[in-house]
Symmetry: D3
């Protein structure tokens, strides 16, 4: 674990995205109309993501424990793809990009777990960083 004792705290933000691709419009409809047997996919997956953001240092060996001061989970449907975006903020000495990516992956896995009984073709595509700010180098990917 790298030494951050000498670094100064600044506002750091990161947005990560995970994509879940389903195989039929019926699955999207079930999600949107809250007709999935295991519950409301967006609300349950969001809740799992809030916990996951906070527990990143418990799962990834070199991640420092840090004060997560904001987490938002957003969903956007594009055709048969559910785009999950997780935004995390902290005021600390190191960034929150792995926290955002970890939370996005858990949101995607929760959606996968809830939807696989009704959609055998569901897949998780890409977990990637969209933006970060506040550290040495800002970063912004053009949204695709």
């Amino acid at each position: 674990m790298i030494n951050i004792t000498h670094k100064s705290s600044t506002l750091r933000k990161a947005i990560a995205q995970a994509t879940v691709r389903v195989s039929s419009q019926a699955t999207i409809d079930a999600v949107v109309n809250k007709q999935v047997a295991k519950g409301d996919v967006f609300e349950m997956a969001k809740t799992a993501g809030l916990f996951a953001a906070k527990r990143t240092a418990d799962m990834i060996p070199d991640c420092h424990p840090l004060p997560i001061e904001f987490t938002a989970v957003r969903f956007e449907i594009q055709g048969l793809e559910i785009h999950i975006q997780v935004e995390v903020h902290t005021i600390y000495k190191t960034g929150v990009e792995v926290e955002a990516m970890h939370a996005a992956s858990v949101v995607a896995l929760t959606a996968y777990d809830m939807l696989k009984p009704i959609d055998k073709g569901i897949e998780i595509h890409q977990i990637k960083l969209l933006q970060k700010s506040g550290g040495k180098s800002d970063f912004r990917e053009t949204f695709d």
Copy 2:
């Protein structure tokens, strides 16, 4: 959480794969030659994956806690891609595909976290189920 009290325990296996794509051969060389500053990527990520498989029910709301009786983490390098395969076995009433996928995602995130200081172009592609057996329907994806 679905009711599994009436189901019978059988041997269940699942193999999931996550893919980490790096942007230069130098990154692959650093991994293989164990020259990454944060440590041995394969060994550390594997260890994180062993813990993650066991903690799946802690992270995914509807996953049942279950006796993980075998976990293996394997790495295969193909060009600039690191393929991570996690195999999980249990003898229980429900399968371990989400456990395998969760562990694979944590292995990928650990590799990402260890390699991003030396490779700004690193990305996580696809977390998918390769095989499962032992439940109602066996499944095997043709390896791509």
Copy 3:
């Protein structure tokens, strides 16, 4: 922790109830109409309860870790009271009443945490066992 090695596994069920009392109909309306700023109270609190049932042995010293094979969280509104019922099943050597009560308390605390910004008079009343079956002595409280 008492010794249960000699006991035999049977189907055990428990239902516990926690009651959250709010101070105005406007709070109930906000919950039902999903207009609470922090999110959908029932879905988020239910999700927290699913995790809590599984983590009871992590929080209560003498509770044995056990295979939770079913958890359901139900809400019922009566006037200004939200009744939370958590039902847990296992097939194991010891009962799940503390698991059900622990989950009910976490569901109630989550609702409290989400609603206190809009209702300063919110309170948690009673966490109690409603029913259990499968052990030495069945138990059923007349619903009040």
Copy 4:
């Protein structure tokens, strides 16, 4: 999870109370005289409460992880009621009332778990906030 990046850290305190009601004086005597088979109820439940205060953000979705800088657990017996008071302090941007209430509920559940083998009529009554200070609005309930 609400955004607290713009808030300033101040000393925040909260005291919560949970009440466990037993059905006979013999139970109270067993607690006081340390004759409960599972161990010293006050010491074990207090220890569980210390852990619970620290793990609140792990259990309640919207709670921010925060530096718990003081926790005290106190017991007071009034007739057949055991009043559990948990006091928590932090210097941070958000209060610790849910932390105090969560810890109080776990202390009560631990006492319940330890005493139910000797008192079938044991119940948990009310988990409530007694006092908080340090945020926008101080609060003090008249002790009952």
Copy 5:
């Protein structure tokens, strides 16, 4: 993590011992007379040990999660040494010796943490397995 799917469940027991050595009789007296500021050392350390036994698979990479069906923590004072013995039982496919040793180490660390403010010379000596039974090879060390 080794594959145990083919093994059969048997009753397995293990007893591990950790030794805490203090530097003065005053420390022993404070423990025995329950005059340590942080609380009752034996009861609090025992409680931490009960949790630790259950969480071994969370801390040690290759340990299988298993149903801990009995844990006892015992203390014995010999001169300036506190001998901590932790006994763990399971009926499962693999033994509980690491569980017993892990719990013993956490009991010792808790005692250390509680006593260091009053005894700068406190040390933890040896964490070792005293007995195990139920697997391929029984083992019993002559008590020293």
Copy 6:
């Protein structure tokens, strides 16, 4: 848990040492040559130690949660002894000696768990503080 709200944050460091003694040179050779069946002992045990340092407050009742800002795990072989040193830094109001000792004990237990299949005589000797700095009293043991 003692009250630290009034204390000021300073840079605090601690180094703890655990010693694992094996019974034959063949075991040392297997570790050094990475021929242990369960994996690379040093890398896996180090990873477990990184997690353990971060989770100390989860395991030891009176330990405050604190921002671990550096952890290093080092191994040194002397004859049949493996000396494990864990160094932890924080900038906070209380020291990290128990964090360093807890991590050292988990590193030792992981090594024990990985090596016991090939060395029945393996033992854990002493978990002790070597140095600390930054609090009221610095401390340095002459290395032995």
